[in-house]
Subunit: 409 residues, 2 copies
């Protein structure tokens, strides 16, 4: 297959099995100017499957960087209204959403971390309506990635630019199984396996998870009404879609006040402010009370200071060793891939669909009920083949779930 | 100078002498994903001159083409609200506007001309507030161009792709005098010359213009309250800006009902539906009663059928032979340049600033007063070194203005 053919297969997988675009539905794509090739392939695929309209909300690394370098320091809390209304109006109308990631992980290194966090939170606030629809699966949406020169340089620093982009595309095609003979069939089977795992975990309904290994001794108390999710989601109108391409995780919501102990990162965290390496977090009654990093500590602190909820967990996810993403042996520096290499927790917002009955709650009720609310939702990896995960029953009994990264449940 | 240095000089000319961006002002750039390099240079230049925020409304040729190829035929009258509100909100707030042109002139060749016109008019309607602000110079704005691979291929079909893009950039730098030692000084002098010419024409205040030459015998009656414009405009708040980079024309408004005779195009017209070559228009009492073309006639007819006003003239412009644009000896297939190679008329909307007192009129009053209203404004070239332009006094006396393309006034 030529690259153009692979890209077409990938675009079809994203539109047909990720977004699951419906005939006559409109689609809003959010993408970078570096993603033109994939955006065009997805647009053509969407129209060929009956889309009524495809709109693209573009961003550009150069424009973003120029703002951080030169714009007035007191202007980062402002945005034109259409930056929010584009996504808000689309989700209110029931349009599908596709977010294409793949940005320069080092773009804003050295820029003011407080302004980076303020810019980010201003955007999240402007898109509050859209995020509410997305986080409660009111509409079908998906996130997928496109290789770019800057991202490829970051992942393959020793390759020539063109070769690095090619290598990153091939890694994406491997991680998303686009290089298989029939990717849609592969993903149908993968989602079936994930569904079985998820239903088993749901049925067992245990009280807490314990992570242990080098530098890590963390107990994550689960919410009493926790729901396990993974693979696909379903909208109220009955569209079953896959929110991430690829996805190999099952996850649920911790109780926001029942997290204790220390977690040491098993992978660097790719934050807005740059890579954070050698990081460690200490929790007491759910709250991060100490955060350190060997590199990029300022970006980690800026993340935690986004709001109070950014210091609490909103997700705990289990990922076995040996996923197609892990088999690439790469640090993608992109959460869509890196979160599928290892078990992880997320600082910030819990998904309403992770707690039974939460869709009907407002923010205050959600937090009072033990859910976590924040403008942030940042996955950080704490699993590896050196980490055991045990389940804890309400009576204190322990049982192994993942032993050295492998499912034993 | 390296290309990057030329691009920076060009961006500074656009921001400082085209848009004349004010400190603390916001800027909205409208551009194609093929214009990334110039957008980034203009964004940096704007921030360095004190811009509070720079937003970019991007378009993409591939996304546009996919819509025309595959989208439902009954969907071209619809657009997401933010396609209009982005520009409307910006102009209402007093932001500056920069429109970057330079698109594939042949992108939509072979597509349905009616749908092309409908898409265009739907966009114009959605941006009605913005166009009202722009056409009455309520805010400072400018239009400039960036070379793209598709445009370069169209202008230099016999060159290799990279060489064609380089050649087009150098032609743009020549036409905009960015290749001069001090482009800002050159443009200050050029605008001064244009101002003197404009004031002389205003003072003489004649009744009509007669164009004559091969295939052309056209009388364009001027509006009794016509105002000559050219070079710079000034906002009510006192910002003097240059709406086109480059510009070598002086122009005013015809009386919409006083145009008679036949005009033969001296250059192809680059319409949305593709190039229109060997075209001819016959006017009676202002209205186009016959339109033909050797190539692209459907696009010409679609243009004329946009609305009733598209069959009447809204502008008549005088451009001498020998401008830096004409000296490139190129057909740019881009109106920003081609209109500065020859005298021309525009089908469609007249600018309110071309008729004294029109700023206070609504559309109906404007048309009743002899102005022309349309969603269209399309310049078509009727001047050349073979064409004479005479002025006509109210008593019927004739005097030469441009003889074989040269000013004799």
């Amino acid at each position: 297959m030529t690259f153009e053919q692979q890209l077409e297969v990938y675009a079809n997988l994203i539109i047909e099995f990720g977004v699951v675009l419906q005939p006559h539905q409109r689609l809003l794509i959010s993408a970078s100017t570096d993603h033109v090739a994939l955006v065009r392939a997805c647009t053509a695929s969407a129209y060929q499957r009956g889309a009524r309209h495809v709109a693209v909300f573009w961003r550009d690394d150069g424009v973003t960087l120029a703002r951080h370098r030169f714009a007035p320091r007191d202007s980062f809390g402002e945005l034109p209204a259409w930056y929010g209304s584009a996504a808000n109006e689309a989700t209110e109308r029931g349009d599908a959403i596709l977010n294409i990631t793949g940005d320069d992980p080092k773009l804003l290194e050295g820029q003011d971390a407080t302004l980076i966090a303020l810019e980010q939170s201003t955007m999240v606030q402007a898109r509050a309506v859209a995020y509410q629809h997305i986080f409660s699966s009111q509409i079908n949406f998906s996130v997928a990635a496109a290789a770019t020169p800057a991202w490829a340089r970051s992942v393959f620093p020793h390759l020539e630019p063109a070769a690095a982009v090619d290598a990153l595309w091939q890694a994406i095609f491997q991680a998303t199984q686009v290089n298989q003979a029939n990717p849609l069939e592969v993903w149908r089977a993968q989602c079936e396996t994930t569904r079985e795992r998820r239903e088993l975990l749901q049925e067992k309904h245990f009280d807490a998870l314990r992570f242990s290994g080098p530098g890590t001794k963390l107990e994550v108390g689960l919410h009493p009404n926790h729901l396990w999710t993974g693979g696909q989601l379903t909208t109220p109108s009955g569209i079953t879609f896959m929110p991430n391409v690829p996805t190999y995780e099952v996850f649920t919501a911790p109780h926001r006040l029942r997290v204790n102990g220390t977690a040491r990162g098993t992978k660097p965290a790719s934050l807005e402010g740059g890579l954070v390496e050698g990081w460690s977090l200490e929790f007491k009654d759910g709250r991060v009370i100490r955060a350190s990093a060997e590199r990029g500590e300022a970006a980690l602190h800026a993340l935690l200071e986004t709001d109070e909820g950014a210091r609490f967990l909103g997700e705990v996810a289990l990922v076995p060793a040996g996923s197609p993403v892990e088999k690439t042996n790469l640090l993608f520096q992109n959460i869509l891939f890196d979160e599928n290499t290892a078990s992880h927790v997320a600082l910030g917002r819990a998904y309403a669909f992770s707690i039974k009955g939460a869709n009907a709650m407002d923010e205050t009720q959600f937090v009072e009920a033990g859910g976590n609310y924040s403008e942030e939702h940042m996955d950080v990896m704490i699993g590896s083949s050196e980490i055991d995960v045990k389940r804890v029953h309400a009576d204190g009994r322990e049982e192994m779930i993942l032993e050295q990264g492998q499912w034993v449940l």
